[in-house]
């Protein structure tokens, strides 16, 4: 899983973020400090399809 920094409290916004552990990544995602690099919601399991 790849992550991107959102908040400058963690680093430079837009830069990639390498979490030290899955727990750290979960806490930072919950706090809105980072996002997943693919832009998907953490709860989205399949990509939406065009109709």
């Amino acid at each position: 899983m790849k992550y991107v920094i959102v908040s400058d409290r963690v680093g430079t916004p837009g830069d990639k973020f390498e979490p030290a552990s899955p727990e750290e990544a979960a806490a930072l995602l919950a706090g809105g400090f980072i996002t997943q690099a693919d832009g998907k919601s953490a709860k989205m399991e399949t990509e939406p399809t065009e109709e």
Partner: protein
């Protein structure tokens, strides 16, 4: 006599989050428990080193704005995290050592609201190993 005066420079990080601008106090408690090893024949108490019993206390303003104190702490209660405290943001060195508590456990988040005052929270990260780094 040379002393180190810190007015507003210390840097405090909880995990990867730099929370310095919400922090008004940080106390590093580096402790190794003393075990009593006094025996017959001794004329004074003696001790040997037991387990480390480290902790870091932080005083924080309780900001619930995005990317502030609440967002930092809300997922950490009941978990262990690394906490770092350094005298200034300058490079880590022998005169600006970086203190790291690895695996400090956050047991509670006691938020305090008082009329006429900014809301605050005093938290303690307990346990874990502590080390100073000079590079």
């Amino acid at each position: 006599m040379a002393t180190s005066t810190y007015l507003s420079n210390p840097v405090v990080k909880i995990g990867a989050v730099d929370i310095s601008d919400q922090c008004t106090g940080a106390t590093i408690n580096q402790k190794t428990t003393a075990l009593d090893s006094t025996a017959f024949g001794d004329t004074a108490m003696k001790n040997v080193a037991g387990l480390q019993d480290n902790s870091i206390d932080l005083e924080l303003y309780w900001s619930t704005a995005a990317s502030e104190t609440y967002a930092t702490l809300k997922s950490l209660i009941g978990t262990s995290v690394n906490v770092t405290v350094q005298g200034s943001s300058a490079a880590t060195s022998a005169t600006n050592p970086l203190g790291t508590l690895t695996g400090g456990y956050l047991e509670e988040i006691p938020v305090e609201y008082k009329v006429g005052e900014l809301a605050k929270v005093s938290i303690t990260f307990k346990g874990g190993t502590f080390a100073w780094s000079e590079s």
